[in-house]
Point group: C2
């Protein structure tokens, strides 16, 4: 079976992983089945079973594909602007009742499945790496100490927002995102990160 | 039925909620059933069904009881010491393979059940309030600006640790906890919190 881009196998994967995304939005992790994904993708369910096997492998493959999709970190001309833009991306995702369902379903999947957990880990590691330019540019401009850890600055910016969603269950808004960005920046300027 | 402390009803509740805790440790949220909780508690399952009805209500009641158990914030004599002690509590819980199962199961339950979500929200709100003394004492000692938001300082200290557990899937250790505490403190000193 061909796996080249645009080949039949690649087209099947695209259709199936689009269906995974749509099923996560519509039903969430616990409501997903291989049959529903196959139906929605218009692919025979034995094909999906043979190639992916389980819902967890489907979710992990969707995450792997998401990891490979180009994502560019904000580049606004200042570290504060970049971190606020990054925080706004997180806030805008989680305050959208439809878009928020996918990351919420992925956290739920990772709590149950080691394969989904590994894929989620790799996805966030790729995002941390992709955001490193924010710190590199800020160090070049003299805004941050040269030894600032780029991944840690990204974690510090995003963590208070995810904490509200998954731990304390408190609401998010853009002002909350701005405060998280400024708090991370203050810690980085103090040389703690 | 009596609900006074030490009465039959209170003893049943204690036994059942102890069993909920033990079942969360042994089987996690998705493996829990009302029957298993009743068996473990030595209570007839119709009693558990009549009083609680579902696993989600059992988990929410266990959280409500956890919220009412006295928890005292660290009081080491300095804001840095208090926040590091708080971060160490979180790290020590999540690096213990048995103790970590309960908060992980509670996050999973809250992703599926609005009743568990509300109980978890109330639990963390109570913890944030109980930790406010850390900030009050630090302000009195002149360590922090008078307008520092106590709950926000607690969120900032704990959020990077929960982010590693539930979002990025990265390991935790005590040094990570200390960095999170110092980052939160730097942000508070800069007047951002």
């Amino acid at each position: 079976m061909s796996t080249r881009p645009g080949g039949r196998s690649a087209r099947i994967r695209d259709a199936v992983l689009e269906a995974v995304h749509a099923e996560l939005v519509d039903r969430g992790y616990l409501g997903m089945t291989v049959e529903n994904v196959a139906d929605r993708a218009g692919v025979h369910k034995t094909t999906v079973y043979r190639r992916w096997g389980t819902v967890d492998v489907l979710i992990a493959d969707a995450l792997d594909r998401g990891r490979d999709v180009a994502w560019t970190a904000p580049d606004t001309g200042s570290a504060e602007g970049d971190l606020i833009a990054l925080a706004h991306e997180v806030v805008d995702t989680f305050t959208d009742p439809v878009r928020s369902r996918v990351p919420i379903a992925l956290v739920a999947a990772a709590l149950q499945s080691s394969r989904a957990r590994q894929a989620k880990h790799d996805y966030y590691a790729a995002r941390h790496a992709a955001a490193a330019g924010i710190v590199e540019r800020a160090v070049e401009r003299g805004e941050l100490p040269p030894r600032t850890d780029p991944a840690e600055l990204v974690r510090q910016t995003c963590a208070p927002l995810f904490y509200r969603v998954f731990v304390s269950g408190e609401p998010l808004d853009r002002a909350t995102g701005e405060r998280a960005a400024r708090a991370a920046l203050a810690a980085a300027r103090a040389g703690v990160l």
